[in-house]
């Protein structure tokens, strides 16, 4: 597809193709960049969103005192972070 090769390394596109790419890929790249701003480890992101949703809408339904709701929200986030880090460390250990 209009690709040329050089002895310097990987195949490169013709100037016209290169010029097309940044414009065509810009939107996708921006969307991907915005997504990657918030989601790196999908499991961590999902767990945090699920916990926050439960805390915001579930805790008031439970008989948890009002003063305990904010600390519970924080506690859950900490447990998720630590759990994810430890799981990654264990995966790294097994992987090695």
């Amino acid at each position: 597809m209009n690709q040329k090769t050089t002895d310097q390394g990987p195949p490169i596109d013709s100037p016209r193709e290169v010029l097309k790419k940044p414009a065509g890929h810009l939107l996708l790249a921006t969307v991907a960049e915005i997504w990657s701003l918030f989601v790196d480890d999908g499991l961590l992101a999902f767990a945090l969103v699920a916990w926050c949703a439960f805390a915001v809408w579930g805790l008031p339904v439970l008989t948890l005192s009002k003063t305990m709701r904010a600390p519970t929200l924080l506690g859950g986030c900490i447990v998720i972070l630590v759990g994810d880090v430890m799981a990654t460390a264990l995966r790294g250990r097994k992987g090695k």
Binding site: T30, T67, G92
Partner: protein, 265 residues
């Protein structure tokens, strides 16, 4: 006059404990983003000259300004409770992502980010791509800096809006980001090398802690939980997260260490 002095002192204290975390978080987070953009701009500058690098940078900044001016006022249309919840959730995801990465890097589980390596890769890529010049500007090179400035800039804009929009701290958050930008540009002009000595992981560690604190705080506020101590709770949450993160590094190192030992043995 004497009667009002304690009141003024209390007010300025209240202002500072609101201002300082916002300013610090905005400055540090933006600094990291600007350093990443600078690496690419410098790579283009080195390989294809300053004209294309500056043209792409200016175009990227202009589009960012248009986006901010165009979409910024729409924020006022969102009810404050919804805004706090949405911004809080995004800040929490953003902050926890950085904090997790910083913990894993400090524990030696994933590799540290290397600006020098990123610079070398970008330079190599640009050297392998042919120039396509119009009016003295290489469009491929300008496109590269445009992309970098726009993408890193979007992150800076998000940080500023998220830190400032929910509590009327948009000006301090903008000042923090602007100061970081000016500082990085000045250092870049003087040093003219990628800022490889910037302790990027330590910065990400601190910023991740601060942004996560703001995130949890705003989710709690948006849900109507109410934090004891009001805005001061942000500092307390940051300290709790900092201690937890430091303990996590130590624990993760203990998990990984036996493998390193067995490798040496």
């Amino acid at each position: 006059m004497r009667v009002y002095r304690p009141l003024l002192k209390q007010r300025s204290l209240t202002m500072w404990h609101q201002l300082a975390p916002t300013l610090a978080a905005s400055f540090l987070a933006s600094f990291v983003e600007f350093v990443e953009a600078l690496t690419i701009v410098l790579a283009v500058w080195t390989v294809r000259g300053w004209r294309s690098a500056v043209a792409g940078t200016v175009a990227g900044l202009l589009l960012l300004v248009i986006l901010v001016v165009g979409f910024g006022p729409l924020l006022h249309l969102i009810p404050i409770g919804t805004l706090q919840l949405a911004v809080g959730a995004l800040l929490l995801l953003f902050g926890m992502r950085w904090l997790r990465k910083a913990i894993l890097r400090s524990a030696g589980i994933i590799a540290l980010h290397d600006e020098q390596k990123a610079f070398a890769e970008e330079t190599k890529l640009l050297s392998a791509t042919r120039a396509h010049t119009r009016h003295g500007i290489d469009l491929v090179a300008a496109g590269t800096t445009f992309n970098a400035v726009l993408l890193e800039g979007v992150e800076v804009v998000f940080i500023v809006v998220a830190l400032g929009a929910t509590n009327g701290m948009l000006v301090p958050a903008s000042v923090g980001a602007l100061a970081a930008g000016v500082l990085v540009v000045l250092i870049g002009l003087v040093v003219h090398k990628p800022l490889a000595r910037v302790p990027e992981n330590s910065l990400k560690f601190v910023v991740g802690t601060l942004l996560s604190s703001f995130g949890v705080f705003w989710i709690g506020e948006g849900a109507g939980f109410g934090w004891s101590g009001g805005d001061l709770a942000i500092v307390a949450i940051a300290l709790i997260l900092l201690v937890t993160a430091l303990a996590s590094i130590a624990a993760a190192r203990r998990i990984v260490k036996p493998i390193a030992r067995s490798r040496v043995g």
